[in-house]
């Protein structure tokens, strides 16, 4: 590592203007506040109002707050009858659907703790999460998931029962709980305390097994208040929402709780692929999404324009939108830009807004970085996307952009009751009531992330003079996709390098829609392999696209993928024509792989993956 090359890609922390930003004051939550309270008061004070809506034929069917709260009580009674005790963990593996929330709230109403599992998780992950959390019950969506879970039953000794949502798990529990009266459930709910754990959410570390983040009722409730205070009076009493991202993701969970406090109706999307159809049906006014959703809407609109022979107009309109927003941020919009924007509003922008249903007024983006250009583009077409920042460990929101306090390219200012500090080495440290107290049964990991009471985010950033945070890098070896999925590349790479023909493997996907891998071939192994096939003398550079080689590597990739969820799995790979070298700076002289340099020097190979 030479000093000169390090200066090129490393910001000097000495240039950061501020090292501490503190959010506004935050009222303390009651000691008996809990996550169920907003739902229960909704059901009590506005029993007829819809709380959720589910797809029904060509439209949506509403579910009233009273009806939903009633089901929560009855399923909770069933869980109690099934032997679930306060403090027990119950694992929940399902896609985003009404039953997910029904079970989540019922688990809480039984005094127990929800352990969400992504519906895309691998069997290995399910086994780990269920056994590590000590879940007594596993609720899965369908028979396929049940069959997978049954195959590892012996390795989940604490799990007494597996229930299947599609086989009327809810109805079955309601019947089993018929003997348990509402008062019993009521007593348990009344006994909930703010500092009781509400959920244990597993997140991948850079190495080793996923760790369970224990979030308390206080963590989650506080974060909802914090987001609400940041948004301020901009939201109207009657907003409507939409759910389409995994509820196992704490961003979605926080959004549901926010919607309940605001008494918004939330419609369930049936699949991210159906959003184009379902946004107009549900007409949300407020959404929370990951960058991938905004990218998809942008790309979809552009492709449509290109197909209609209007690609040039679209690109021009996009440039105008971006310029307009940039100029507005800088304080002055040139009249000619304003005029062009007015023109394109009718021609182009209105159609993009219609893709979100036409009523969308507020969008929050989190889970990963939203490109500054994309932020300006949406702002230019009349849709402000407020980007925030946080981690599962922080429930999740630490900082947020908001109406009247918005700087594109930053992740906003600390929410109320939250302090953000930049450590000497550039790491972002956080303190606040939304920060978790630790990982489930893993004191070592917990001690590692706290430093004198400050939570170490593992991200690197800088604060500007107004207290806005900008994320500039990452200390932990983690990739965050534009779908908001955290992926640890090291364990995947270890498995890839176990392949006989593989020399080096670099897993990439930062800010990309999916994960892929760059693979280099081991010269000796490939020589042997060629000789065995009477292809001796084939140069390594000629083998990159060889179908036989690709088939061999595909097997290695499949084996690596078995350890992770579909969202984390390697969707595409490239066999590089040459190995990494010191001359190209891809390796340090001491032979350490530099991911950032590899991503730059192999940019054309990477682009080929993502433009396929």
């Amino acid at each position: 590592m030479s000093a000169t090359s390090s200066a090129q890609h490393t910001p000097d922390p000495g240039l950061a203007s501020e090292t501490l930003a503190v959010g506004p004051a935050l009222p303390t939550l009651d000691a008996n506040a809990h996550v169920l309270a907003p739902l229960l008061s909704f059901a009590k004070e506005a029993p007829e109002r819809p709380v959720f809506a589910v797809r029904d034929g060509a439209g949506y069917r509403d579910i009233s707050s009273a009806e939903f709260a009633r089901s929560v009580h009855r399923v909770a009674a069933g869980l109690i009858a099934a032997g679930v005790e306060p403090g027990d963990r119950v694992a929940l593996m399902a896609s985003t659907r009404l039953e997910w929330l029904l079970f989540d709230f019922a688990i809480l109403a039984a005094g127990s703790v929800t352990v969400p599992i992504y519906d895309t998780s691998s069997t290995e992950q399910v086994q780990w999460i269920v056994s590590d959390s000590g879940a007594v019950l596993l609720v899965v969506e369908n028979q396929t998931m049940r069959a997978a879970a049954e195959s590892i039953r012996a390795d989940m000794p604490g799990c007494r029962e597996i229930l299947v949502i599609d086989d009327d798990a809810a109805g079955g529990l309601e019947r089993r709980g018929a003997e348990i009266d509402d008062e019993t459930v009521g007593r348990i709910v009344a006994g909930l305390r703010a500092d009781d754990p509400a959920t244990v959410i597993y997140t991948s570390g850079t190495t080793g097994r996923p760790k369970g983040c224990v979030l308390s009722h206080r963590n989650l409730r506080t974060n909802v208040s914090q987001s609400g205070l940041a948004v301020g009076p901009a939201l109207q009493p009657e907003e409507s929402g939409m759910l389409f991202l995994p509820l196992a993701h704490v961003l979605t969970k926080g959004y549901v709780l926010f919607a309940l406090e605001r008494r918004m109706r939330c419609a369930f999307g049936t699949d991210v692929a159906h959003l184009a159809e379902e946004f107009p049906l549900a007409q949300p006014t407020v959404i929370a999404a990951v960058p991938r959703i905004f990218e998809k809407v942008y790309e979809g609109a552009r492709q449509k324009a290109v197909a209609a022979g209007k690609g040039k107009i679209f690109d021009k309109a996009a440039e105008v939108a971006i310029t307009w927003s940039q100029q507005r941020s800088a304080g002055k919009v040139a009249p000619v830009v304003g005029a062009k924007r007015w023109l394109f509003d009718k021609l182009v922008y209105g159609k993009i807004r219609a893709a979100f249903g036409g009523q969308l007024r507020f969008a929050f983006s989190g889970g990963g970085p939203l490109g500054e250009r994309l932020t300006h583009f949406f702002a230019g077409i009349g849709l402000d996307v407020y980007e925030g920042y946080g981690l599962t460990e922080t429930s999740p929101t630490l900082t947020i952009n908001a109406p009247g306090a918005w700087k594109p390219g930053t992740v906003g200012r600390p929410v109320a009751g939250t302090s953000i500090r930049i450590a000497d080495d550039g790491e972002i440290l956080a303190k606040g009531p939304q920060v978790f107290s630790g990982y489930w049964h893993n004191d070592t990991a917990t001690a590692d992330v706290f430093d004198d009471g400050w939570f170490r985010t593992g991200d690197v950033g800088a604060l500007d003079a107004d207290g806005y945070l900008r994320i500039t890098g990452r200390k932990k070896e983690l990739i965050v996709t534009s779908a908001g999925k955290n992926v640890a590349p090291a364990p995947l790479e270890d498995r890839l390098r176990a392949g006989a023909l593989v020399s080096q493997a670099v897993v990439i996907g930062e800010g990309r829609p999916f994960v892929s891998a760059l693979i280099t071939l081991d010269e000796l192994a490939v020589e042997r392999w060629c000789a065995e096939r009477e292809r001796a003398g084939t140069p390594i550079s000629a083998l990159a696209d060889d179908p036989e080689i690709r088939a061999e590597i595909q097997q290695v990739v499949d084996a690596a993928n078995a350890s992770v969820s579909r969202a984390e799995s390697i969707r595409e790979f490239v066999v590089l024509p040459s190995d990494f070298t010191i001359e190209s700076d891809e390796l340090t002289p001491t032979l350490k792989v530099r991911r950032g340099i590899v991503e730059k020097s192999r940019a054309s190979d990477i682009d080929a993956i993502y433009t396929r």
């Binding site: 590592m1 030479s2 000093a3 000169t4 090359s5 390090s6 890609h9 490393t10 910001p11 000097d12 922390p13 850079t206 190495t207 000497d424 080495d425 550039g426 790491e427 590692d448 593992g458 690197v460 500039t472 890098g473 990452r474 200390k475 932990k476 070896e477 983690l478 990739i479 090291a490 790479e493 270890d494 390098r497 176990a498 593989v502 020399s503 080096q504 493997a505 670099v506 930062e510 081991d522 010269e523 000796l524 190995d579 010191i582 340090t588 002289p589 001491t590 032979l591 350490k592 792989v593 530099r594 991911r595 950032g596 340099i597």
Partner: protein
Amino acid sequence: MAVDPHPPRAAPEPRHFQLPDGATVSVRPLVPGDRDELVARYGELSSRSRRLRFVSAPVHLSDRLLDHLLDVDYVDRHALVATLVDEPGAPSVGIARYFRSAADPTHADAAVTVLDAHQGRGIGTVLLTSLVETAMENGIEAFTADILWDNAELLDALRSVGARVMPGEPGLATVRVDLPPVPDGLRGSPLHEVMRMASADTPA
């Protein structure tokens, strides 16, 4: 490999040190004949130690990597091997090396590795001390290294002696440690102290 402008020097003589636990360690320069030894010892290294040393660690050292690791001239490219001379077969248990930077000849990229079973015995300290002495004799003023943030103990120790630790590539810190201006300044200096503290011997 590029043509070397500096003709290789003769390998310096081995030196002996006593470890805190009483064992005697010999520190000698790496020689081309160490090829098989490198392969074998790498095979014994735990996956954690491999990751800390190479970040994206190969399953085995290929010929190309070995060529590079064995290409030492004891001035610009130097490596030292630690062997336990009292033990049967005098096994080699650690290695430390530096490569002078092409961009700034007063800087060198450094690394040290000790076999897992022997970590914590002070072998890394002995290796680094010798490496620093040779580096200073050869006009090197600072060591640099890309170190995984996961190697927190080492980073903390380096920080405590005033090393510059900055975010580098994803997952990596770029570290610079200034060497004392005169060779005699090493003993008792903060750098010597950290080499002693870092005797957990986790790879740099």
